[in-house]
Amino acid sequence: MTTPEFDDLLDAVRRAFVDASGTPVPTEVRLLDAAEARAVLGDRVAVAVTDPAVLADLVPDRGTTAAVAVAGDDRSALVHTTGEVTGAPSAVAAAVEAATAHLAATVRRLRGEAAVLDALHSTGRELTAQLDIDRIVQDATDAATKATGAEFGAFFYNLVDELGESYTLYTISGVPRETFERFPMPRNTDVFSPTFDGAGTVRSPDITKDPRFGRNAPYHGMPAGHLPVCSYLAVSVISPTSEDVLGGFFFGHSEPDRFTPRHEYLAEGIAAYSAIALDNARLYERERTLASELSRSMLPVAPPTPGLDVVTRYLPAVTGSKVGGDWFDVIALPSGATAFVIGDVVGHGVTAATVMGQVRTAIRCYALLELPPSEVLRNVSALTGGLFGESFVTCFYAVHRADEGTLTYANAGHLPAILVRPDGGPEQIGEALAQPLGVGSRFPQRSTGFPPGADLVLYTDGLVESRTRDLTLGVQWLLAGIPAVLAAADLGTAWDKLVAELTLGRHDDDIALIHVRHRGEDPA
């Protein structure tokens, strides 16, 4: 009802306030706020207000003799008088109500439908934008429990662990989780099996009167202490890609006949969105795990390195799907020398991991030919450019000759290494020597002494760089942390601590690390 229509209605109602001779009596109009309108009118369009207590609240100390409340789209008002009126106002109210009740009911129903569709749509949008399984299932359970008007709702869902074993988890909404903690997982009883088998929605006005209820040992119904369930609604969640049953939504209410076909429709809608969201999350997780597994499987086991303590770390990115590009290698060369390699392939996921695997193998091959570092990198750069087109791989390559006490290295666009000479502080070596592999063609090499008591640290940018901390600052922090690592009784533990400090426990890029300590007491 638009504003002019509402004014017309008010006028019509005011004209009905007449005395016994048919003469209009003076009336006043008071607007009702939303709460007052709800209290006085409820769902009705017009009503005669006769309750003295209500009138005393709305128009105090006036000696009101007659009053009619009317509702419009966006506002409501009370027409009232202190004059002598006949019964006409209440008759008008009744007539208006009779004429518009059907229309008002239709509007209410359509609004209800629109609200339901809105709710379903926004729930779907939120669910399908998620990739975190825990959040998807909890949000879906909360939304569905609210939408169905259930006293409580639960979502039981199946996951498969890394060994291929299936296990079931659940979320609860409407009641504390402890309410269900004492009970076992729902089994494939006659009541539950249609949902876990994906055989269709089960909706019952009173599940305790259902022929399928109470037929299975040991409980023959609900276990003692279970929240009372009378109205029951259960919907399967079925993967749109594999058609596997991913889980089921269960809703309960202690009173009978609470779930309507509309509730069923809503629950099925949310279940369908949940299935899409869970599928997405699983596929995403699978991709992430695959890249991470691939990278890990290609990591070397450091060979025995007489006279050297070697600590290595590889930490795949913990956030996003950025796993895959970093690697390290420790290669025992035929001459007795040891080569140390650290590198980073631009890109992420399975592609970066496979490029990394090939680059690592190429470096190994040239290294085993005992080519000097600058030749190893030059050959690999030419190979990389040819194999992968436009590639960008940074790499630090260093060879330690124990017999000469030297370290010879070349650096393809990688971060400098950290060298700590006996009785010296940490210094950076090999900074900005050459362009990355696949980009550069000349890789000059340098040599330095690496006597017993010296330490060498090679690392990738994930350790020092993040969106919130630039490289220069990150490297300063790393250098500042080195003395404590060197002084520690156990290098591995000390590195784990420093890595956690530098990344604040959250690295959104891969991290690879090699620490070489020249122990020197073993004969080479």
């Binding site: 934008a129 990739l131 995403y284 956030t319 996003g320 799907s321 950025k322 980073d344 631009v346 890109g347 992420h348 996921g349 436009e390 590639s391 960008f392 940074t394 666009g413 971060l415 400098p416 900074e431 900005a432 020597l433 050459a434 362009q435 990355p436 980009v439 550069g440 940018d461 760089e465 993040s466 969106r467 630039d470 490289l471 220069t472 959104d508 890029d509």
Partner: protein, 127 residues
């Protein structure tokens, strides 16, 4: 999720800070202005717009990194691509200064081959 929206945000990574690339083309000069973190998430956007810029056949392409808050190697790889890739049609000038953007370019010696200017005005004024 490599899929990015118009602002370069990844759908799957809430930590992703918003990054943008804007293309401005007039009088034969194409300028790509990059803002935010130029990393794996934003690099495909830079590549897409650099290729679009190349199709306009400008006399000069400028990539302005003044607004970049983090230059990852994925971003540097795109600079190399824009400089020597197959779709290159115009000489590339890069605006980079300071330790956020210039320092990584120095460490990878991309400064050897990229024409780098300290400001957009100087990049545009260069002959």
């Amino acid at each position: 999720m490599a899929e990015t929206d118009a602002t370069g945000n990844t759908l799957g990574d809430a930590a992703s800070s918003a990054g943008t690339v804007a293309l401005d083309h007039h009088e034969g000069t194409a300028v790509l202005r990059v803002e935010g973190a130029l990393d794996l998430a934003l690099a495909p956007k830079l590549r897409q717009l650099a290729e679009r810029a190349a199709r306009l056949e400008p006399a000069v392409l400028v990539i302005d990194l003044t607004g970049v808050t983090f230059l990852a190697s994925a971003g540097m790889a795109e600079l190399v691509r824009a400089h020597r890739g197959r779709t290159v049609s115009a000489p590339l000038r890069v605006v980079a200064t300071g330790r956020i953007t210039l320092r990584p370019l120095e460490l990878t010696r991309l400064t050897d081959e990229l024409a780098i200017y300290p400001s957009l005005a100087e990049a545009l004024a260069a002959g």
